[in-house]
């Protein structure tokens, strides 16, 4: 969970019995998350095919993340997907929040239910669904284009080198814009109306009002929305595996998919572990950066 409260001294006496309550959870968490994480680092120092004895190569696998064009491309694709999974949904959410600042809407709960629905559906199901929609011969998207006389635009959305990554990205946009919209509209309804009255007395128009009042007041919500959607963008395995397997060529290869294919298809276990850890480091860094920026109060 992001955006929780900081550490405050807990009530009560020092209690060594706390260790007893903590122990079972810590044991499971340690054994199946922390120990494997350490083991992943150990594996990443070897060149190993998973069968024969590995060769110690130090940090070379990490060097490859920078120098290997296939890995560089995968990480670049991950950054592009952040645009589709995180920036675009938050932009859509902000547009709506700006409108809601002036209009107190009723029945938001109903919209909320619908807008959240894509997120509770398994990503594998979402992937199967969008593969059908993007299908070049009888997919709904091409059928729709033909129906409105734009048949010349119909094409192989997931098979085209230039379009495949954007097509996948838009699936992410579809899944997550509801989250951003609901988060930001909930935030905007909490802004005291007096702030808007003051802005209006000063003669602020809708745009000025948005930048002077709405946007600063929503910093916390924007940070939560960006953090969540960025993490989802970076952990994008299911969708890629089901729809494109990284193709055509390597047009939709992402780090999460590289981890899988290197470890379990092409026998580059050490490299796979290194990519997984770099992905984790990237998630930490971006989460930290977003939340630091959000905490810094405007002057």
């Amino acid at each position: 969970m992001i955006g929780g409260s900081g550490l405050v001294a807990p009530p009560g006496e020092p209690r060594r019995i706390g260790y007893l309550y903590l122990a079972p959870g810590l044991l499971v968490f340690g054994a199946f998350v922390l120990v494997p994480l350490g083991h992943a680092f150990w594996l990443s120092l070897f060149e190993w095919d998973g069968v024969t004895a590995g060769t110690w190569i130090g940090l070379d696998n990490y060097g490859d993340v920078v120098s290997d064009p296939a890995l560089r491309r995968a990480f670049w694709h991950a950054l592009v997907l952040i645009g589709f999974y995180a920036l675009l949904p938050v932009a859509i959410g902000l547009l709506l929040a700006g409108l809601l600042a002036r209009a107190r809407v009723r029945g938001l709960a109903l919209f909320r239910t619908v807008l959240f629905l894509p997120q509770v559906i398994a990503m594998v199901v979402v992937a199967v669904m969008w593969r059908m929609i993007y299908d070049p011969s009888n997919g709904a998207l091409n059928e729709l284009l033909r129906a409105v006389g734009l048949g010349s635009l119909a094409q192989s959305w997931l098979g085209d080198f230039d379009l495949a990554l954007s097509s996948l990205g838009l699936v992410g946009t579809w899944v997550y814009y509801g989250l951003a919209m609901v988060l930001l509209t909930a935030g905007v309804q909490k802004i005291p109306p007096s702030l808007y009255d003051a802005a209006r007395v000063d003669g602020a128009g809708m745009v000025r009002e948005f930048f002077a009042v709405t946007l600063p007041a929503l910093r916390g919500e924007i940070a939560v929305a960006l953090t969540l959607t960025t993490i989802y963008a970076l952990r994008n395995f299911d969708l890629v595996y089901i729809t494109t397997k990284g193709g055509p060529g390597e047009a939709t290869s992402v780090p999460a998919f590289q981890v899988y294919s290197r470890a379990f298809e092409s026998g580059q276990v050490g490299s796979a572990a290194a990519v997984g850890l770099c992905l984790t480091a990237l998630i930490f860094a971006i989460t930290f950066a977003i939340n630091r920026t959000a905490e810094r109060r405007p002057a």
Partner: protein, 272 residues
């Protein structure tokens, strides 16, 4: 102060985006019930053929997959909820040496993606002879779930009025009694929110199942669906029906407990 025009623009935009969220879902449901004999295309509609679900259930072996998913999800959620309540109680209401550092370790655990640990997990479980067992699906997910659950329950126990805890202590209640008889009855909404989120994440998990399990009988629902897609590319109708079957359990829970899903996700809930 709000003009009618502003209000209708807002409703129009909300409506358009809601419709766009719904359309692909309606499309796949329509596809799932159309006539298998007709040339299938996504979103077309030729009457309702509910028999497709029975066919997909049989051809796709979804009964087995749903059973596996249920076994894994119930085990993970039950274990994680219990352990998280205990650990969250310790972090939330007790003071002991190292609590702060340990808590930060849990916090980092929330952001560790499955991708980071899947490689060693596979080789460790293989060495232990545990791949192709339910343990390989349950234990790692219990680990990541406990990280989230502990964080969630700690936040809850922090919000409990201190007077309640102190009153119980003055009455001579043990910490165990205080937890189960005094605090937990009040914690039901928080526990329920945690439960539905963990259920959703566990049910929808794909990568772990893909790596850990090759036995047909152990495949979870999302994994089963991906195999069904692989061997059944021509019959869109049955594939759509299978997809609906796999998504249905979580959607049903969502319909009844949506308040909990939304509250949990709005608070920034995320799991590795």
């Amino acid at each position: 102060m709000t003009s009618r025009r502003d209000l209708s623009v807002t409703y129009a935009i909300l409506g358009a985006f809601s419709l766009f969220a719904l359309l692909p879902i309606v499309g796949i449901v329509f596809t799932a019930v159309q006539d298998q004999g007709a040339l299938a295309a996504f979103g077309t509609f030729h009457g309702v053929h509910l028999g497709n679900f029975a066919d997909a259930w049989r051809d796709g072996n979804f009964g087995t997959y749903l059973r596996s998913s249920a076994i894994v999800a119930i085990s993970v959620v039950a274990a994680a909820v219990l352990l998280s309540i205990l650990a969250g109680y310790a972090f939330g209401l007790m003071r002991f040496r190292g609590a702060e550092v340990l808590f930060y370790v849990f916090l980092l655990g929330l952001m560790i993606p499955t991708e980071a640990i899947i490689v060693p997990l596979y080789y460790d479980f293989r060495d232990l002879g545990l791949t192709d067992t339910y343990w390989a699906l349950i234990l790692p997910q219990a680990g990541t779930s406990v990280a989230f659950g502990t964080f969630w329950m700690r936040a809850y126990f922090r919000s409990v009025p201190r007077s309640l805890v102190e009153a119980a202590r003055i009455d001579g209640a043990s910490s165990w009694f205080t937890l189960w008889r005094v605090l937990l009855p009040l914690a039901r909404p928080a526990v329920l929110t945690m439960t539905v989120l963990l259920f959703m994440w566990t049910w929808n998990e794909f990568l772990l199942a893909l790596v850990m399990v090759s036995d047909e009988g152990l495949r979870t629902a999302p994994l089963g669906l991906s195999f069904f897609q692989g061997r059944n590319t021509s019959n869109l109708t049955l594939l759509a029906a299978g997809a609906v079957i796999v998504a249905m359990p979580v959607v049903v829970v969502y319909v009844f407990l949506q308040r909990h899903f939304i509250r949990g996700m709005l608070s920034g809930a995320v799991k590795g």
